[in-house]
Amino acid sequence: MKKLFSVFLSAIISFVPFIFAFAKESDDIDSLKGTKLYVYNWGEYISDGEDDSLDVNKAFTEKYGIEVIYNTFDNNESMYSKLKSGGISYDVVIPSDYMIERMIKENMLEKINFNNIPNFKYIPEKYRKLAYDPTGEYSVPYTVSFVGLIYNTKLVDEAPDSWLALWDEEYTNNILMFNNPRDAFAIAQSILGMDYNNESAPAWITAAALLKEQKIVNPVYVNDEVFLKMEAGEAALAPYFVGDFLSMQENNPDLDFVYPKEGVNYFVDAACILKGAKNKRAAELYINFLNEPEVAKANAEYICYGSPNEAVYNDPDYEYYQDELLYPEEGAFKTQIYTNLSPEILALQSTLWDDVKNYIPSGDSNLSLFLGGDSSGTTDEGEKMTSETRKYGLYIGIFVLLCLAYIIFRFARKQYREKV
């Protein structure tokens, strides 16, 4: 009896794979109904139904019955820190190029099954297998864009054509700057004609010295506040992403944009699937859905960043169809892409950035030192730093002394009174 039962059971078990194999793909998708998909993306980086646009996540849920749990981050590094620290698991994540490279190296990403992403056909060859993902197995491009210089035509007389405008003392107190090391250093590196992905420490130190030099114009370091400040006409110049410039310009027509001649950063943000994704099939469905022409167009119009999707940028109805800024001619200006830096350079970059943030400039500009080509990168930082330290040290010292004197005075008085 027992034997018969086990034979019966094994027969069933051996059939199971066949049953699944014969099941149609749609059943496969149906089985995902009611599951959850965890998506981690940049803030303001998906069409969310505002102003009659398409609500992408809602549309996805309606189509496939998969609930989308959507969270946002505001920079690659904080996203990386969160994922590394564990505790949360996402299925789909949309980081930038160099971060994807790092995550591939650290084995944080899962290979994508491109059979499940038929819409990958809309991504042209030039956006495939880029430097950060040379085998093209881990990522599907989501946006492509450039950094450039935004300026307020009311405050800037002559259109700038160089990053050096950000060092111009004429615009002191009126300059905004990236508040993250990678983008800030890239600007200095462009001016110095360096590679963004330089692996030599002295080069980074020189770039840091140039960034310290910028402190003379008292730049304000901003992230998202750039929108508020540029739209209000609070600042004359700001380096930022072209896509964001387009949305700022809608609110302040005085703004204009230029790609500085020294070259700019070209970046790709791409959708990836994380290692250990609990719902990989749904993640692929989602990535595929993002590349549906309609959805990709809605996203491209909402985010205002360039789209790597042919069906979008070749569509005459697309709001930014053949936009000169978003889709410039190839080779119109120098571009560089970020790649992953070695841990030593990353550590150096973060200490240098701390130095830059805390640097207090001396009165005179040493800018010519850099532009002359002979950039030894030595500034009199020690002296200035100590003078400020001394100032605050003195204040605190006086305060503590006053407190002490008061306590001693009271103590002495108490003694005296007791005696009397």
Binding site: S81, N179, A232, D354, K357, Y392, I396
Partner: protein
């Protein structure tokens, strides 16, 4: 019988003890552990050695904290006294008004100060309208201190008020009967009696002021760092938990020392007369 009640009290306090171990003691141990290790987990003192670089930042934060605390104290003491002298109903309303801004997110409030203070902001556009030269306020140390005072003032008012509300009025009367004029009543009676509130108010304002990072980023324009900014950056951007932890450790020790000194100071207060 006695044993049983001891056991019962242990059982009653166990959730708190568990909470304290999980969320207070364990994180502290992690902070100490990270401060003395490298990324790969080996013992090192480099993180601590590295700290000397951040001395200016520490000093700046402490100074800003001291200034903000003193201003808060100067505003909060009279305010609390005035509130405590009102009728019960009035007191409740006024305290509600003090608390009201705290119903909104701290981040939003700070962000809106940016819109108020900036060169094209509310204050300056008003000044321009009435024909006065605009004042540059945003992205200065003053704006950061203003942000601290604004955000942390309720933490100063609340403890001082709660002590003053319970103040035995007969003490004040006694003081007056003994011939004290107004200044003497305040100096020799009200201030010493409300000292516990003042001390806890000072710690409650000083600690968050020293460690804040959001206020300095938004209102200070990120052009100078406070120590909170550096710590935040180590965790958020550089992924250097070790340096971040050692900075936090020093900050924690510093704050503990300040609190110990303050407590010692206030302990004497009961016996001493100003």
């Amino acid at each position: 019988m006695r044993n049983q009640s001891a056991l019962r009290s242990k059982l009653v306090s166990s959730p708190y003890i568990l909470w304290a171990i999980l969320f207070i003691i364990a994180p502290m141990i992690f902070v100490v552990y990270y401060s003395f290790t490298t990324a790969s987990g080996d013992f090192t003192l480099d993180n601590i050695k590295f700290l000397s670089k951040y001395l200016p930042t520490f000093l700046r934060s402490i100074w800003f904290g001291i200034v903000a605390t003193l201003i808060c104290l100067l505003i909060a003491f009279p305010t609390s006294y005035i509130i405590s002298q009102k009728s019960d109903k009035m007191q409740r309303t006024l305290i509600l008004l003090v608390m009201l801004p705290m119903w909104m997110s701290f981040l939003i409030r700070t962000y809106s100060w940016m819109a108020i203070l900036q060169d094209t902001g509310l204050i300056n556009s008003f000044l321009i309208k009435i024909g006065i030269d605009p004042v540059h306020m945003i992205n200065t140390g003053g704006a950061v201190i203003l942000g601290m005072v604004y955000n942390f003032l309720p933490y100063m008012i609340m403890p001082i008020y709660s002590v003053m509300a319970k103040l035995d009025f007969s003490m004040i009367e006694a003081c007056q009967d003994l011939g004290g004029n107004k200044i003497n009543v305040i100096r020799r009676c009200i201030i010493p009696l409300s000292m516990p509130g003042i001390v806890s108010g000072i710690t409650m304002v000083f600690v968050p002021s020293v460690s804040t990072f959001y206020i300095s980023q938004k209102l200070g324009g990120g052009s100078f760092d406070l120590i909170g900014d550096v710590i935040e950056r180590q965790f958020q951007q550089s992924y250097n938990y070790n340096l971040g932890a050692s900075l936090s450790l020093v900050l924690m020790i510093l704050i503990l020392v300040c609190m110990a000194v303050m407590n010692r100071f206030s302990g004497d207060e009961g016996e001493m007369v100003i």
